[in-house]
Symmetry: C2
Subunit: 216 residues, 2 copies
């Protein structure tokens, strides 16, 4: 490997590689610590420790704590944006489409605590970024659902008086609440949640509610 010293093939463990690794270690550590403590509570020293690098390097790669935070958010929004872009896949029955979309979102939240917490901090700390820098996400969701739901209304599956934006917000709320309001979940169930069966039961409840309501 010492033979590969041409310009186009830098040493495998060379500066460039280490640099990239440092940058991504910082971003990973920052994601978990910003998610845990929020943009105010997170400490630059703690992020540096968790990333196993010197604090100076955070300023070298990201300029400031604020900038690092924005980068963490961008990463986070890109992830779900890409995911939902690729999730579009039309089936015949609009019920199947809606159910699949809800299921995908619900399990994404269940498996990405950092996403849930980062957006929650953003919501509380005045949406310093989310709303302004990454507004595309809900535009996409709206467009996506628009197609599915208009198709459903045309074919008589969905009530024509429905407001798509309300539906999106409601589904958002119904999925999110299990992960953002764990004190409430705890105080209602008095036991540990989030086994595979429990999650599936919650999702099923959401689907039943969206499809039929609670009244018979």
């Amino acid at each position: 490997m010492e033979a590969l010293k041409q310009t186009s093939f830098p040493k495998v463990d060379g500066r460039e590689q280490r640099s990239k690794e440092s940058r991504s270690r910082i971003l990973k550590a920052a994601t978990s610590i910003f998610a845990e403590k929020g943009p105010e509570g997170a400490r630059v020293d703690e992020i540096a420790d968790a990333a196993g690098i010197n604090k100076r390097m955070i300023y070298h790669y990201f300029g400031s704590k604020e900038n690092l935070y924005v980068e963490v958010l961008r990463h986070n929004y890109n992830k779900i944006y890409t995911l939902s872009k690729n999730a579009i896949d039309f089936a015949d029955d609009p019920r199947v489409n809606v159910a699949r979309a809800i299921r995908a979102y619900f399990y994404y939240l269940a498996e990405n605590e950092a996403h849930v917490r980062l957006t929650s901090w953003e919501a509380l700390c005045g949406g310093r970024c989310a709303g302004k820098l990454f507004p595309k996400f809900f535009d996409l969701i709206e467009l996506e659902f628009d197609d599915i739901i208009k198709d459903g209304i045309e074919r008589g599956f969905i009530r024509p008086d429905i407001d798509i934006r309300q539906v999106i917000l409601s589904v958002h709320a119904l999925c999110l609440v299990y992960f953002t309001r764990q004190e409430v979940v705890q105080s209602l169930w008095h036991e540990d949640m989030f086994s595979e069966e429990m999650l599936e039961a919650c999702l099923e409840h959401i689907l039943k509610l969206v499809f039929d309501g609670i009244f018979s």
Copy 2:
């Protein structure tokens, strides 16, 4: 008024009165600043300024920032606890009961931003208090709804396979989301929300969803 110097009638503007007023001014200022900035972001000096008293007095009346925060939370939970205790009022139609309960909760949230934000901070900062100190609230709600919904099931208005806890959580989620996720609301509606008509439209959507779902 200077004549009323007996033991049982202290001077109107005496120490006791001023003391009580100071205490409640601190509590009021603390509520609004803790709600705005959270338990970490709130500054004791800022609370003192807002209350128009010296910082020393906060330590005199409440001992510590943490203690003051707990007191603010206790106050907040007592308020809604008392409110929902008094809201029980059986009508014949379980639909009327459920609709009234949802309406009351929705408008309580709309009119009490501090409550919405305080519980949101609590949810994120690890429920240092809410879950442990004030678990009675959801027990009460559960008991209350339990009656209403069992009555509804017996009389064939409500689907018998429904889990009451899931219903409570869903209603909680559906009402809360308008006030906790304003970036999402903004990015869906692109306009200022929360006029009287808009609020009523949102509530109507929630009721329709709970009563019938979105499918026809």
